[in-house]
């Protein structure tokens, strides 16, 4: 209907009244606001603790090749952390492998023959902990138990001697699940999932409500362009998205000790495009639906691939190719990759440029499509 280019239709000055109005409405809608802020916290705590349950007493076998008081002391200290429950002793690597394979034990402590000698001579004493990491919760428990023992033991062994502090190095070999999916791994996922769950729906609802109440038509008669109108409606929800993200991150740090290895600035930058992409999906949903009911159903339909195919629960590498393709269409997939990279591996912004690029394209694409759809429905 109007021939101007997309950019010319962004009449910047009119975005702000729109944003102001949206904030006024959000402020009045206390229930939605409370849900947006409180529900992420509830989800995180529930989800996080569910993942953290049964972290103790991992059934463990011992393969002690050192047969020294020191090695026995080590095993005892590990058992004292209560993360390991010693269920038996094995006599060979072969036996160790079968025991874990058959599921009789979930972990094994391997003390090499030179353990005591290394301690005494001031060398690093190596201990190996093998974990059946298919169960991420147990492996996380074994991991922390082993590390704790390694810290505590040297002081116990040689409290009087200050000449050299014995160093024990515990190397953990997770089997079956080398990526070690643990609760710290789940928290970034919850961040992304919550943003996906809430943002698309509230964005779609906010627009469909305007359509149902006749205010959308009234807005179209005013000089504000469709682009400014949609952007103005989006901006307050970007802020809400950031509040949610910050909430989950703080709680994740407090309750689950999620490491913040990488740059928070990079995380927030990526979250910006991710939030925009989700709001774009919400806009698209609102452009396709006439009633709030339809919008709700469409949103639910779009959420399922986000939950199942993004790699939030199941690793994408293990999925059939078709499922991987569908997963590749979901913004959450890229956000998960990026946040896990930043939080857990300390990846730099540069290393994640592909995720950022795809998310930006998704945000721009959904926004452009929605604006296009809106122009058509109005004429």
């Amino acid at each position: 209907m109007r021939s101007q280019s997309l950019l010319r239709r962004i009449d910047g000055a009119l975005i702000w009244p729109m944003v102001r109005k949206e904030f006024l409405q959000i402020r009045r809608d206390r229930l939605t606001l409370a849900m947006l802020i409180v529900i992420p916290a509830m989800y995180l705590v529930l989800f996080g603790y569910a993942v953290q349950s049964e972290v103790r007493h991992v059934p463990t076998v011992v393969y002690d090749e050192s047969h020294t008081p020191e090695s026995r002391h080590l095993v005892e200290t590990m058992a004292q952390t209560q993360n390991f429950a010693i269920v038996g002793v094995v006599r060979s690597r072969q036996e160790l492998a079968t025991t874990i394979q058959l599921g009789r034990a979930r972990a094994a402590i391997v003390v090499p023959p030179d353990f005591a000698r290394s301690l005494k001579t001031g060398h690093v004493a190596h201990v190996q902990v093998i974990i059946d990491a298919a169960d991420p919760m147990q492996s996380a428990a074994a991991l922390s138990g082993a590390r704790l023992a390694a810290l505590v033991l040297p002081a116990k062994l040689d409290p009087a001697s200050a000449r050299h502090t014995p160093v024990i190095d515990v190397s953990v070999r997770p089997w079956y699940n080398p990526a070690l999916r643990s609760s710290t791994y789940i928290v970034p996922g919850i961040c992304g999932l919550l943003l996906t769950l809430s943002l698309g729906v509230i964005m779609a609802m906010a627009i469909v409500k305007e359509r149902e109440e006749g205010t959308l038509e009234q807005l179209i008669v005013t000089p504000i362009s469709k682009t400014s109108m949609l952007l103005g409606k989006m901006i307050p929800f970007v802020l809400i998205g950031y509040i949610q993200l910050t909430n989950v991150l703080i709680l994740g740090k407090l309750f689950f000790n999620v490491p913040f290895r990488g740059s928070l600035l990079a995380l927030y930058a990526i979250a910006g495009v991710f939030i925009a992409a989700n709001l774009g999906v919400g806009l698209l949903i609102s452009a396709l639906s006439q009633t709030q009911n339809q919008a709700q159903q469409l949103a639910t339909l779009m959420l399922i691939p986000s939950m199942l195919l993004s790699g939030f629960v199941f690793p994408r590498e293990a999925m059939p190719v078709a499922a991987q393709w569908v997963g590749a269409l979901v913004p959450l997939t890229y956000f998960l990759d990026a946040t896990r990279g930043i939080l857990l591996r300390g990846a730099s912004f540069q290393a994640l440029w592909r995720d950022v690029l795809v998310l930006s394209l998704m945000a721009a694409g959904t926004l452009a499509l929605s604006i296009n759809r809106f122009s058509k429905t109005a004429s």
């Binding site: 109007r2 000055a13 102001r20 109005k21 409405q25 006749g214 807005l219």
Partner: protein, 246 residues
């Protein structure tokens, strides 16, 4: 001085259905102009095209000197539109609604605040300014909607069945406001179902099945159809339309 509204063979088709068929209208400035006709006669479609809400299938129209198809942006600054649904935010107060819509027309800042206060006074809304629109009755909502549609002083004002579901006292007050606006030079185009309202218009146009079938002062139109009142004209037209349909 050009006409406030002028259309040439303005046509809109929905599929095979002719909503508006080759409509030619000239409405001079400062008039209260009534657009009448039974349901489905094309009144609302015409208004929507004149507001730039709906693209015509063919033909042309200009409103306040702007082409509805090509000068939509400029057009929108110079018209006010009030629909029968009022288009207000129930969860915002009267003043917030007014300030919001006014600011979309560039009536913002301290001049905007002053202008909004003036409008609130003029329409007797000042005591209700802090009330949520959702808590108001139909008559009050109607006044708020009129305030929102006129805060930017548009030279052309469209009212699409503005008095539907509003009590008689409120309707009378509403019409007084409309006359005041017209005296100040605003061209007002109003569609209505109430025939007493039609007789208040300076000129009326009758639409039937998308076609203009009569135009003139209310007296001229009643005479042309050989009827006593506008209402009789309306009923005879409706009977004719329904006769065709069944």
């Amino acid at each position: 001085m050009t006409d406030a509204i002028s259309t040439q063979s303005l046509t809109r088709r929905f599929g095979t259905y002719m909503a508006v068929d080759k409509l030619d209208l000239q409405i001079p400035r400062g008039q209260v102009f009534g657009l009448l006709g039974p349901n489905g006669s094309g009144k609302t479609t015409t208004i929507r095209m004149l507001c730039g809400l709906l693209a015509p299938t063919s033909g042309a129209a200009s409103v306040a000197g702007f082409d509805v198809l090509h000068d939509t942006d400029a057009l929108r600054l110079h018209i006010g539109y009030m629909s029968q649904r009022f288009g207000l935010y129930p969860d915002l107060t009267v003043r917030e609604n007014l300030r919001f819509y006014a600011s979309l027309y560039g009536v913002s800042g301290s001049t905007g605040a002053a202008r909004c206060d003036a409008v609130l006074h003029e329409l007797g809304l000042i005591e209700r300014a802090s009330q949520l629109v959702g808590q108001l009755s139909g008559g009050w909502k109607q006044r708020v909607a009129l305030a929102c549609a006129t805060a930017h002083k548009p030279p052309v004002l469209f009212l699409d069945e503005p008095t539907a579901g509003v009590d008689p006292a409120a309707r009378r007050r509403f019409w007084q406001t409309i006359y005041t606006l017209a005296e100040c030079g605003t061209t007002v185009i109003v569609t209505t179902h109430y025939m007493d309202e039609a007789e208040r218009c300076q000129r009326i146009a009758f639409l039937s099945r998308g076609r203009l079938i009569a135009i003139g002062t209310p007296d001229e139109v009643t005479r042309e159809f050989g009827q006593e009142t506008i209402e009789d004209v309306f009923i005879s037209l409706q009977r004719r339309d329904e006769g065709v349909l069944t």
